[in-house]
Symmetry: C2
Subunit: 242 residues, 2 copies
Amino acid sequence: MSEVRIIPVTGLPEVGEGDDVAALIAEAVQFEDGDVLVVAHKIVSKSEGRVVPLADVEPSPRAREIAGDDDPRHVETILREAVRIVRVRGSFVIAETRHGFICASAGVDASNAPEADTLVLLPTDPDVSARRIRDGLSRLTGRTVAVVVTDSFGRPWRQGTTDVAIGIAGMAPLLDLRGTRDAAGYELRSTQIAVADELAGAAELVMGKTQGVPAAVIRGFESRGEGTARELILPPERDLFR
Amino acid sequence: MSEVRIIPVTGLPEVGEGDDVAALIAEAVQFEDGDVLVVAHKIVSKSEGRVVPLADVEPSPRAREIAGDDDPRHVETILREAVRIVRVRGSFVIAETRHGFICASAGVDASNAPEADTLVLLPTDPDVSARRIRDGLSRLTGRTVAVVVTDSFGRPWRQGTTDVAIGIAGMAPLLDLRGTRDAAGYELRSTQIAVADELAGAAELVMGKTQGVPAAVIRGFESRGEGTARELILPPERDLFR
């Protein structure tokens, strides 16, 4: 094992609808083959026009009821992004998104939005977004990189959020050690490591939420295989933690 | 934001009861002030004698019942480490440990054990273990480092394990952004980032489970404050995901 570097991507302009994220990042980074580019979904969503002006939202009675003193248009946007409401407390909603992710506000967020009174949604299909960025980087730089699109998720039992992978291209999200042996020869029977989530969290360490660093390059990590972030969703019938 | 490096700690000998983990690591690493040392709990547990020979375990009727065709002494060891059983399927047990962690097998693990037919438990108080290592490193190297002791945890809703912090010294586990503003001036109302868990996961990227790399140094991350891993445990009454 050798060193892994987490390199912040700085100097990106504010991203708007129609912007080519791959081109902007290719301008900012000297890629090497094998790099993993980790991108916060915000700039991906903005480039894809996944932004909702609150003024355009007509809240339903249910949204008004949940919102209480908060903005019912914000709650309505969350409800529209949700396929299932997991929990509501006050105006705080945990929901399952169309992608199958379970997260606060169905991924709808007001921070780092392009302007006041707008909300940013998750990309429609973050795996497709990751693939598009990967293909763009390949075309523009000639380099083979993996791409991970991330969001900050809360989780049961533990305080605070960690960044996780919501879209992946060019690598397998899980490192499957089943059948391999540890240094003492003991066979690992069930170990699958969610390396894509660990890469997402590692990148967050240099991205922050307030510094305007929306991406990072992870260099020196040997990603393997192919896959999608949907593979990280645990089917309910196999989820003993649920 | 500048680059963060994840440096594997290699060349450590097999650790046994009574060994001084800080001294072994101080031999292997040239520390700099501000480094975060991430240590897999296995070597900490072994140094603290938290190893159980299966031959010493007399299984209870309950352990025999859960174990089925598996080793009832293994299940008995899990039951003894648990304060609450969260879920049982077959011989697979999810439990709450005395520390308050909810994890598979109450943290009891047969892989990377010192010899066949032994099990490794979590440290009795991983925050105390982290503190002891930090103090040792300070004494031996003159450097001020933070220490994170880790384990690999499964989680609800998502496939695979990620490494998380179970013991901390010399840094706050959460980066509290409540009240700060994003680049556009929007106030972050609830954002707390579990940076200790992100550091744990980042370190796992160079540690692996099979390569005999039980620790990593994270250099360039500005950890702040003081705290314990217990602060990462979400009280049930505040846990909307539970």
